[in-house]
Each structure stands twice: as C-alpha cells, then as structure tokens.
Symmetry: C2
Subunit: 226 residues, 2 copies
C-alpha cells in the first residue's frame, strides 16, 4: 500500500519530492550556493525547470529548505553519536568521528553543507539559522559534559561552556580539512587525539615527567578554582 488515501487529481509527478530535495542537497553541497545555477539544479534533481519553481520556489527558498532538512538529519545523527557511548571520552570521540566520517563519505560531496557552504551565503536568514544550529550543537555537547560531571568523570568545576565551544571548533576544523582533501584516516586519528585532549584537566602546577621545566610558569593557564 504505497498510498492509502485518494490519489490527487491531475497528472502524477515524475519524481519523488524528498528524493529531489536530497539531490538538491548534493548539488549545493558540491558547488556552493553562488556557484550553483538553476540549470545545475534542474539537471541534478531530475525535475523540470517550471516544476522546480512551482514546488520549491526560487533558489534561495530551495536552499533554505535544503539547509533545514540537512541540519535536522545531521543533527539527529550527531546527537545519537554523542549520546550513545557510555564514557565521556568515547562520546566525544564518537561525535568527532561521526563528523569526519560524514565529511569524507564516498558517494557524497566532501565537507559539510553547514560548515563549508552555508556560512558563505550572504543572507540574514541563513546566518540566523547557522547561529542557532551552532548554539544547538554546543548545547548538546555541554549537556554531555554535565552528564559527565554527574557521573563523576570530570570535576564539577570543569569549564563546560568553553570546552564545548572548543569541541565545535574542532569539528569545524576537521570538516574543513576533509573538504580540502585530507584523507579520512588522518582525520580519524586526529579526532581520537582530540577526544583524548578535550577531557583533560589542567595540572595543578607543572609536573611534567621530563624533570624541571625551565620556564614553564606561564603566569596563567589554570581554570578558576582548583
């Protein structure tokens, strides 16, 4: 039963709307926003030009819809990657690795629509959307950090907000490197390394294993209260 309700009246569409939307995502993802022409979309989506305008509106409207759908899907997957593992460190590794894998997926454009394409779109609504998306991602990571505090994995004075921003920054950096062609293997290794780092706590003073550090007193470098 592919459709239980009555079929609409006129000539049936020759394409699936969501499938076309996904194809549009790939087009924008691989060519950017300004770089994409309507003909690119027509060719990539398998939708006739007038149908495209009738159903999806103009290029900007279509892009916004693509952006929202993409962000929702990717956000869900990212949240899943972050919240599935048991330990905090593995959660972060999973989160970062998910970003890398998604950005280096074969059969799809490299990088990320939200990181590599959308920020360059000169449009207030897009900017606002990105701000919100970023804030949401950071909030997600913060939440995971707080769970880690509850579980005793990190102390209660752990700099949650700052480290969460840092994780998001790292995700962006890894994603951009993916788009520049850095191999997945390298990025996955760096993601693991980053996960190790992000859960580290500041040292009380400086007790490096290689004896006395010469001028290791930085005059700073501690979180508020030890």
């Amino acid at each position: 039963m592919i459709q239980n309700s009555t079929r609409p009246r006129g000539r049936p569409r020759s394409f699936d709307e969501l499938e076309a939307l996904e194809k549009a995502t790939q087009v924008f993802w691989s060519k950017g926003y300004d770089g994409v022409t309507i003909d690119d979309l027509v060719a990539g989506m398998g939708v006739g030009r007038p149908s495209l305008y009738a159903i999806f509106g103009d290029k900007r409207t279509l892009f916004l819809r693509v952006l929202r759908a993409y962000a929702e899907a990717k956000g869900a997957r990212a949240a899943n990657a972050l919240l599935s593992p048991n330990t905090l460190r593995d959660s972060l590794a999973s989160f970062l690795k998910h970003a890398v894998e998604s950005a280096t997926q074969e059969g799809s454009a490299t990088g990320c629509l939200l990181v590599c394409v959308a920020p360059l779109v000169d449009d207030e609504e897009v900017r606002q959307f990105l701000q919100n998306a970023t804030a949401g991602a950071a909030a997600l990571v913060q939440h995971r950090f707080r769970d880690g505090i509850s579980a005793g994995e990190i102390p209660s004075d752990f700099p949650v907000a700052a480290r969460a921003s840092l994780v998001i920054d790292l995700t962006r950096g890894l994603t951009m490197r993916a788009q520049m062609g850095t191999p997945r293997k390298t990025l996955l290794r760096d993601a693991e390394e980053a996960a190790d780092l992000v859960v580290l706590l500041p040292r009380e003073v400086s007790r490096g294993p290689s004896g006395s550090a010469r001028k290791a007193s930085t005059g700073r470098g501690r979180v508020p209260r030890p």
Copy 2:
C-alpha cells in the same frame, strides 16, 4: 623621491597597483569568489574595467594573486605572533588570538580569506595552494612545539604532529565562528582556553579532584609512553 628612475612614457595610472590589490582582497573576502562580479571589483578597486584586465588578468588570475599576497602577509604576522612569546603556552595563545583579532578586525571583512573563502573555490591551483599553506602553518606550529621540547616545557614524547593539526583546526573553527558573528571577546576567551588545553599532557591514570570517577577507564586515551 617617489621615483628615482625615469617615469614611463604614456598617461600615468590613476591608481596604485598594490592599493588596488588590497581593495580587491577586501572585495573577495567579503563576497566570496563566485559571488563577486567584475563590476564589484571595478567598483571596489577604483580601476577601470579594461585596465583591470590589462594589468591583473581575468578574475581567476587576480584571485590567485590576491590569495598569494594575503597568505604571505598573514603568514608572516602569524609566525611573528607564534614565535615572539617566551613560553610555549603563551606562543599558542598569541597565535590563536592573532587569528581571532585578524578575523574580527573592524574596517575589514570578518573571517579569513584562506579559511572562509578560498576553500570553496573550485580550482585545482587554489586547492593546491591551500594544501601547501595549511601544511606550512602546521609545520610552523610543530616547530614551536619542538622548541618547547628542547626547552623542557613539554616531554620529548609530546604528540607534536597531532597537536599541531589540532591547533590549526582550532584556528579554523575560531575563524569561522568569527565570520558567523561571534563577538571578539568570546573568541578571545576561547582562544586562551584552547591555549591552556593544547599544552596539557595526558594524566597517568585518572586522579580528578572529585573523588573516584565511575567509568573513567576508556581503554585508550594515552600517548605512547608516560
């Protein structure tokens, strides 16, 4: 003596070549590559259309020249920021803060031509240039880490390459957030936090101040030898 040699013969130019190049940088920086039209450049550079072609070549050639000049200047400033301070931690803070300040400079476009604009240009030469620039930046940071090892600030088994990549990723992330409108103050704070983090060493086991961590054994998360 603005010119010691004989003045060239014909009608003198009505603009300064380097000044025009700088203005072109701003145009590309603020509008991207695909988003820029020749008329944008003509208006922004104060150079007549035919003169633009005669002197700078077409849009792609001009962009490559802009890119090279920008990277050279910015690379020099970044290296200076990185190599001036005495301690490793302050070097990294200086490096990251320089990136933030440059990306949030008033009177100039936000973000960074190398981070926010160039990666989206669909051109093999641009890609190659970016790869080299990134490698150069990472090498610079690695060099600073090795100096830190020599000075005894960090142990000799410090994961130099991975941490250097991490610093570059962080720089990119901060820069992109700058372009998205995150205030400078926030970014500077995060840059400091990041500098603190990047020089940290892994703990031997896990001796957080908040008693026993429940499931803190990750089965991983250590650098080769403690």
